[in-house]
Symmetry: C2
Subunit: 224 residues, 2 copies
């Protein structure tokens, strides 16, 4: 399975790349600047011994089965328009972007109202028909991904495409410590996105790298 | 410390009453119907051996130091207008209400948009000046409160009144298993309220009684 990570030189993208490279997946780091992408890919390859290459964002998407977006919200819609010609109906687009108010000079503890309801639903409007959009990985602290240890956080996965959501939950479980949960339809991404703003508030108040665990569900809830 | 629980005959209100009565606090169960309030108070008194009485909602608020609102959103604004003459500047009003779309015949996995941002912020607009509004207890599964065991859930407390928020965090910690966290300003209640809709979705999909734990914070974050 090959995964393109758009904005893959940033902390969240590089962190996910590193974890998935360690798990044996083929990773293509995407960046606006192909040289930066290749340099970061080289670095992750050295650290993990995995299969990691680098390319310009759109080029990275062309050959990947799964495209993961780890970009700031300020360039979100524009980036999707740029990527659109490279996206194909068989692909899954994983949206991790949170519409933080910091995108327009506001606070990282607040989110912007997105007309469609969430960044993920905006994405669903901007990808070619037939591409499955799955929202996930919003609440994972990037600062924990760059290390090798287990991550004490659940990943809530929202999508209108059941099979694609299933594959993304499997992808989440490749990160040690992570449990993946079915968060229901893509419209629920608005809640999962906003949780990130709350977690950032905890991090600021208490100098932590906060995540969340959902309690009180039967074991099979984390395993389907 | 005396606590009035408005809507205290419902599962969330009765559950909190029972836990706090066990912790030695003086509880006044409020209901529209004073007879129902007294009957439920009698029941909780028998179960817990605590100090529990019942009264009409407004009467319940008059003598309490802390007023906890556990009412469905459909009667929320109207109830606050009814209670207003009984509320005094020295009191703390704890808002647990979630604006579920079920209030207007929609789904319990969706919330309504509240003009002020959240049910808690609406409350802040409707109480007399000087009353401290604190949002908390939204994510506790009521089904776990009625039993005696520890509750595997954190309580996120949001308020613009630091001292009042501190007292409510202390109140939350009286429930075995619960950790209380400073969720920042009252405006953040919008996120905590919406998390409930997400948890209800998990409960429906997996027949659970879900809650949440925040991970990755230093121990002192849960103890201030």
């Amino acid at each position: 399975m090959s995964i393109a990570i758009v904005g893959g030189t940033g902390p969240a993208g590089s962190g996910l790349a590193s974890r998935w490279a360690q798990a044996g997946l083929t990773i293509i780091i995407g960046s606006r600047d192909p040289q930066r992408a290749s340099a970061r890919a080289e670095e992750i390859r050295r650290q993990t011994g995995g299969q990691v290459s680098g390319a310009e964002n759109k080029t990275a998407c062309e050959s990947a089965e799964i495209v993961v977006l780890t970009i700031p919200f300020e360039g979100h819609a524009e980036m999707l328009k740029h990527l659109k010609p490279a996206l194909k109906p068989s692909q899954i687009v994983v949206e991790t972007t949170v519409p933080l108010a910091a995108s327009v000079g506001g606070r990282p503890t607040r989110t912007l109202g997105v007309w469609q309801g969430s960044a993920a639903q905006e994405t669903a409007e901007l990808v070619p028909q037939g591409v499955a959009v799955v929202a996930a990985f919003h609440n994972l602290p990037a600062g924990l991904l760059k290390h090798a240890g287990p991550v004490d956080c659940d990943v809530i996965v929202c999508s209108d495409h059941k099979e694609a959501a299933h594959r993304v939950r499997d992808l989440a479980r490749k990160i040690p410590g992570v449990r993946a949960l079915d968060g229901g339809k893509l419209e629920n991404a608005r809640i999962v996105e906003q949780i990130t703003a709350l977690l950032i508030g905890f991090n600021i108040r208490h100098k932590g790298l906060s995540g969340l665990r959902i309690t009180g569900l039967p074991p099979e809830a984390y395993d389907i």
